[in-house]
Amino acid sequence: MDQNTKVTPEIVKKHGLSEQEYERLKKALGDREPNITELGIFSVMWSEHCSYKSSKVHLKKLPTTGPHVVQGPGENAGIVDIGDGLCVAFKMESHNHPSFIEPFQGAATGVGGILRDVFTMGARPIANLNSIRFGSPDNAKTPYLLKGVVAGIAHYGNCMGIPTVGGEVVFDECYNGNNLVNAFTAGIVKKGDIFKGFASGVGNPVIYIGSKTGRDGIHGATMASDVFGGGNEERRPTVQVGDPFTEKLLLEACLEAMKSDAIVGIQDMGAAGLTSSSFEMASRAGTGIDMDLDKVPLRETGMTPYEIMLSESQERMLAVTHVGREKEIIDIFKKWDLDAEVVGIVTDDGIMRVRQKGKVVCELPIAPLVHAAPVYERPIKKPGWQDKVQKLDLKKIAEPKNYNDTFKKLIGSPNLACKSWVYRQYDHMVGTDTVVLPGSDAAVMRIKGTNKAVALTVDCNSRWCYLDPYWGSAHAIAENARNLVASGARPLAVTDCLNFGNPERAEIMWQFEQSCLGMSEGCKQFGTPIVSGNVSFYNETGKDAIYPTPAVGMVGVIDDISKHTTQFFKDTGDVVILLGVNTNELGGSEYLKQIHNKIAGNPPHLDFEREKSLHKAVLAAIGRGIVKSAHDISDGGLAVALAECCMQDNCKMIGAEVKLEDDVRSDALLFSEAPSRIILSCSGKDADLLLTIAKSFGCPANIIGSVGGDKLKIGDLIDVGLKDIYGLWSESIKKIVS
């Protein structure tokens, strides 16, 4: 876009700004028209993605503080204290739309972006996780998207040498037209070594670092191609291509540069590139920046100020150093073969002044621009269909005649099947810290030089969020916490990725509000504040929005690494104990969907007190060193959970025989997804102690059977050979792509 392009109403519209927003903009400028570069800058800064204009009022209600919170929302990543002077920095971010257009590059650059968010804070990334959702397995596009997204995540994470240790994979029709790719990264940083994105200190140099700027992804989503003129598609790829090799150099160079005290502030260039990084850094510090675009390393010739300011080229950072210290920092980046140039200087006038060839091409007051950003209280209305989908009459659901067959069908359905086809493609061991590999409830990462470990997990049952966004979202928090507890970790804090439909629709905003409230309540109950996150709206095609999908990631800590558990049964003769209560609830279950083709009912009841007593009991028992395995019951219910205790993805198998004496219908007994339940195993001599511990916390606990053999037997309902179900369970995902 040429600097002389006239700003017409049509161009304003193509930049996604409403008339009111444009008026607001002129006012913030002191009643003048913006030039084209300034307009472009406003349009990205005020886009939903950067301004959170529709979500802000609701996000304010989330609990974000706690004694262990070092950095809450507002920085590139959240940070919590795990003791011994160490902190975990973590965040989750969406890359849904790019991954639908180009699954490989879209997913890869999603991973690249979230990694930068974490190491820009001074943390060395230790683990990646991801939450990915696709349409129905038999949708024509699903295999292509699944293959591309997984390969893209693998490509970036593997090359970076950051292990990808967990996540979730979900298939549902509601994602046919909008797949979801949410990437999560956690890193470790010493408490005194945290860096933030502040452009402080008048006179300090502003340094551009990393890859050269090209014409990648300029306004990918909002701009119609004809606005660019010439119609030459070739010149403007809307998808960014990632280069994990450069990012690996960037990571090492940044961490090396951060060891000196020369850096004042640093931030990655994510969405809206140079624009958002420079504005955010100056705005946090209350300063201004004078920038010279002639100094910006460019990949192509003839780039206009508009293009340079809005490019979303990957693998770039912006740093401010103390005056006079720039050379030593630049030398470190040169040593790593990266571009590093002083492109500007921090000023005291609060203005972003950008020059090209000596001419000022943009002159914007930063604070008014940031403060004048629109915030909307969008209309909210409960959907008319909401009550209807919650109706479920169990009496009308016929119980299966043959539970072995039903069970086999479930264990081989893609949502319940083994996800090893996915995580085998991820290097999950690089770094030699992964103590619990993918496949168990939570990944456990040791921290070398300490006795500690962190546990990580990502989860959300979006069908429940559709049936009841409040309770579905509360469940997401509870389930994450339960997963961590099952691994022996104390839950600490949450990051989230809120994937929803079009916020301009009142029904969607109702879902969003309910979801925030439900998450809030969950977080308060478990003492796990939300320290970072991301909102992704407009996940809808035609009239069909995705299910409300608040993907939740949670981090926990294990103080003594020797006291961690996996979900797998260990030794013949061990006793199987069920903590928690079986109920008749089948609403929203995978069983109803797969076997009865029904998506209906309420999610099971979540009793926070019961859930918390379960957590206390399990952590106490693990702390005593008497628990050999622990697995929470979730998707697929008790029967599927037991099978998951019996089978590991590497063909290791050990059977179990259990008897249940509850007064509930058989299908609910086997397949209800009621929360607050964990299956433990221990050696016979410890069983009494384990029951005593559970009861001391008021947690119901019963011996239900024993470990051994090569079958899974559940009362007289299920009797299957593990070899038979292993094939169904382990091959299911592979079948989708071949």
């Binding site: 090799f245 085998r424 690089v430 992964t434």
Partner: protein, 220 residues
């Protein structure tokens, strides 16, 4: 024994390869920067796993051109120890220190998992294993499919240069189930599995540790 771990741009198992000789085996180790030709007097060079130079063009192809590799080649030719793990193995074949080439896995996907390998204990790198012992090691690679011409294969076999063979399952299509080979003299080893990832009990086992212990034991 003094170890030197080469750091290419894109190496990402360098810190893991440093950790085991020092923290687990109590030996001395230094990092060797790819732009420096100085090997700092090390006895054993480790070419670590990762994606040297992004693995662009071909894995290991660009790395072989770096200044440090000239010294590593000299070190190897004069009998010094060199071990290339995963990407390091690829660098060794590209540099001509080991014969053959590592092609893309037949599955065309990256594979990360535990596999079993059978050990030939007649090399300096494996003398702490039993003859024909089957051990469990992790692999994590996209290009581990070993290939060489028939003459070379026969030579490898008759000289006892095949240090590790996949046992049971061949994960990547490698010729003759080859997981790791040495040069004729035995002082250079390249292998696709990662012994450094399974050298501590907390990580699930110590089957890889004896590779390091074997080579350390050769120094009197």
């Amino acid at each position: 024994m003094k170890f030197g771990i080469v750091v290419f741009p894109g190496s990402n198992c360098d810190r893991d390869s440093f950790h085991v000789p020092t923290k687990v085996c109590g030996q001395e180790a230094v990092y060797l920067w790819h732009k420096d030709a100085d090997l700092k007097g090390v006895d054993c060079v480790i070419l670590p796993g990762g994606f040297s130079y992004g693995d662009y063009l071909r894995c290991g192809a660009i790395a072989k051109q770096s200044p440090v590799m000239k010294s590593v080649i000299e070190h190897a030719k004069s009998g010094g120890y060199v071990i290339g793990i995963c990407n390091g193995f690829q660098v060794l074949t590209e540099s001509g220190l080991l014969p053959g080439v590592l092609m893309r896995n037949t599955s065309l996907t990256f594979i990360c998992k535990y596999i079993q390998v059978k050990v030939n204990n007649k090399t300096p790198w494996t003398n702490k294993y039993d003859a024909g012992e089957v051990i469990t090691l992790p692999i994590a690679h996209n290009e581990g499919n070993y290939f060489c011409d028939e003459v070379t294969l026969r030579r490898l076999e008759s000289n006892g240069q095949i240090a590790f063979k996949y046992h049971g399952e061949n994960p990547n299509g490698a010729l003759a189930d080859i997981a790791g080979i040495t040069n004729e003299k035995g002082n250079v080893l390249g292998l696709m599995p990662h012994p450094e990832r399974i050298s501590e009990l907390i990580l699930g086992g110590t089957d890889g540790l004896r590779v390091f212990e074997s080579i350390i034991s050769t120094k009197k």
